[in-house]
């Protein structure tokens, strides 16, 4: 963290960061979100305390809450009262925690499988043109195929166990990582490669010392997309397997067929919180791992 501080405190480091992202970094499919100065700096830490920082979102939330309450009062079958959602959560927190944990497990294991497969394929694809020509078209077609449609077929094939859920989650996470990492591995500047060519560094050495670190910013951008996506994948699979024992997706499908709207929304609240939490974690890791990348945005050279 100390190094991050000094990085941001250097003159020029704060100037370009707002929109100073390297144009070469915008991958074709995984759009790289602009890195904000945010996360690590002292000033932005204090910003959280300023009313100008948190007031706008608070006003919006209160406004939405009022609209929700008004609508819920007139037509309780459209929206459940917020109090009912709160009661559902507070009345049986263990129930939601257990189901959230089941969904989270599927999401994270599926993500891990998708990550490993995508990373290995990304290395293959970036090192071997032949593999690139074979794998990329298939990956693209897979990506545009709606996975919601695949899920029921997988349930038929694999039953109500964890397999179809893991496959759907892994498939959803696969493509952004493949594209992000394979783009990142090839993002090394020609001058750097020439230096390592004259050193006669082996392909493996170049991959390890140069290409893989170069791909890290791309990888983290992919992960920021894929972490919340993994939850979506898990829930989609659970919804497609209505006989499954647990998971927030199952809670939603059972509760909605019983017209228990408050429970449905309570589960949705849990999912939204889980997604946000994962995003928060991955962003925190990214800010630690990529402090050098952050600082590059403010390069004076």
């Amino acid at each position: 963290m100390t190094s991050m501080m000094t990085t941001h405190d250097t003159p020029g480091a704060n100037e370009t960061t707002a929109d100073g992202i390297d144009p070469a970094l915008s991958a074709p499919v995984v759009a790289l979100p602009v890195k904000t100065t945010g996360a690590g700096t002292r000033s932005s830490r204090l910003q959280f305390l300023k009313p100008t920082y948190w007031a706008p979102v608070l006003v919006l939330l209160v406004g939405l809450g009022i609209v929700w309450t008004v609508v819920a009062k007139d037509s309780p079958y459209l929206l459940p009262p917020l109090s009912a959602v709160g009661e559902a959560l507070a009345g049986n927190p263990l129930f939601y925690l257990q189901n959230a944990w089941a969904t989270l497990q599927v999401a994270l294991i599926g993500l891990a499988i998708g990550f490993v497969v995508a990373y290995v394929l990304a290395i293959l694809v970036s090192e071997l043109p032949l593999a690139r020509r074979a794998i990329m078209p298939v990956a693209v077609v897979l990506n545009v195929t709606p996975l919601v449609a695949i899920a029921p077929a997988l349930v038929v094939a694999f039953g109500f166990g964890p397999e179809p859920k893991l496959i759907v989650t892994a498939l959803i996470c696969f493509f952004p990582i493949l594209i992000g990492v394979s783009t990142g591995l090839r993002s090394v500047s020609p001058a750097v490669l020439q230096v390592f060519t004259t050193l006669h560094a082996s392909r493996l050495e170049t991959l390890w010392h140069v290409r893989m670190p170069s791909a890290l910013p791309y990888l983290f951008n992919a992960l920021r997309i894929v972490f919340p996506l993994s939850i979506i994948g898990a829930v989609v699979a659970e919804l497609a397997a209505p006989g499954a024992a647990e998971g927030l997706g199952t809670v939603i499908s059972v509760a909605s067929s019983n017209n228990r709207l408050a429970v449905v929304y309570a589960a949705i609240v849990c999912l939204a919180l889980m997604g946000s939490l994962l995003l928060l974690i991955i962003t925190a890791i990214e800010n630690r791992a990529l402090h050098w990348h952050d600082s590059r945005q403010g390069s004076r050279g």
């Binding site: 000094t6 990085t7 250097t10 500047s189 001058a191 750097v192 020439q194 230096v195 390592f196 060519t197 004259t198 050193l199 006669h200 560094a201 082996s202 050495e205 170049t206 010392h209 140069v210 670190p213 890290l216 050098w292 990348h293 600082s295 590059r296 403010g298 390069s299 004076r300 050279g301």
Partner: protein
């Protein structure tokens, strides 16, 4: 690589380019980057290559670095092919951009070359033309070029001049037999450039490497070099070779002396006649 390195071309005590031809593209867009170029650079010399844009000076450098193979002719570095020289880590390259790795600090950046291609030691010993030297203390080398306080800084925290000095130390750190520099100071301001030239000469004096230095600055070429090769474009060829007989060490003050200006004028004349000899279309 054997076709590149015939026994006749392999001279153990010099970098030797003979009858090198390099052609880019084909048909109407064909461009002759190098046309029958002969170069002989003896060990320990500081040789600059100067010429207008597109005269093939970078191509010549890349030929020595083994990054390009000639379409005809031969290239050899101290008796072996450029490729074999790279495999033995006999060649250090300083490209135009510093090309540092942004996630490594200065010390890690300059130490990385020692960590790759570990088989090079063995290969070096088998090459007769190679002169074995002890591995230098990187921290000392960094301190010598004024980076002593910056060893643990990231490249993004350095100025352009400091980044380029880091790249030079990285290349010198391998004790290469030949250091290839491709317009390394072209992005720096005049003042920084002159200061770093001095530091480069200091390290070179200590390490006794052979240096091939591509530049488009006449002053830079005269100050640094033992010999300046003047090139002309389309087709790329060497039109003159000027030995700079000024005394060393060459301080910044020497830049103001009449002797220095004499050599500058001499090279400018050569450049101008090279320009007029070349086709008019070469306005770059």
């Amino acid at each position: 690589m054997n076709t590149v390195n015939t026994p006749a071309a392999a001279r153990p005590d010099s970098i030797s380019i003979q009858g090198a031809v390099k052609i880019y593209g084909s048909g109407a867009t064909q461009q002759v980057a190098l046309n029958n170029v002969d170069v002989e650079i003896e060990r320990g010399r500081f040789v600059s290559i100067i010429g207008p844009s597109g005269c093939g000076k970078s191509t010549l450098l890349r030929l020595i670095a083994g990054l390009e193979t000639p379409d005809a002719g031969t290239a050899s570095v101290f008796g072996v092919s450029p490729d074999a020289a790279c495999a033995a880590k006999m060649i250090g390259l300083v490209p135009q951009a510093p090309a540092l790795l942004p996630w490594l600090d200065v010390l890690q950046n300059v130490s990385l070359p020692a960590k790759v291609n570990r088989g090079s030691e063995r290969r070096r010993k088998r090459i007769g033309g190679h002169v074995e030297k002890e591995a230098p203390d990187m921290s000392a080398l960094l301190t010598a070029v004024g980076l002593g306080d910056a060893v643990h800084k990231l490249p993004a925290q350095l100025s352009g001049g400091m980044q380029q000095r880091t790249a030079i130390v990285r290349a010198f750190g391998l004790q290469p037999d030949v250091l290839l520099m491709d317009e390394p100071f072209s992005a720096l301001d005049e003042f920084t450039r002159e200061a770093i030239q001095g530091q480069l000469l200091d390290i070179w004096d200590e390490q006794k490497s052979t240096v091939v230095f591509v530049t488009h600055s006449v002053t830079e070429a005269v100050r640094l070099s033992d010999t300046v090769l003047v090139m002309s474009a389309r087709p790329g060829r060497i039109t003159a070779s000027v030995d700079i007989t000024l005394d060393r060490p060459r301080s910044q003050d020497m830049l103001k002396t009449p002797e220095f200006h004499h050599f500058e004028d001499l090279i400018r004349d050569h450049l101008q006649s090279a320009w007029h000899e070349g086709p008019i279309t070469s306005a770059a």
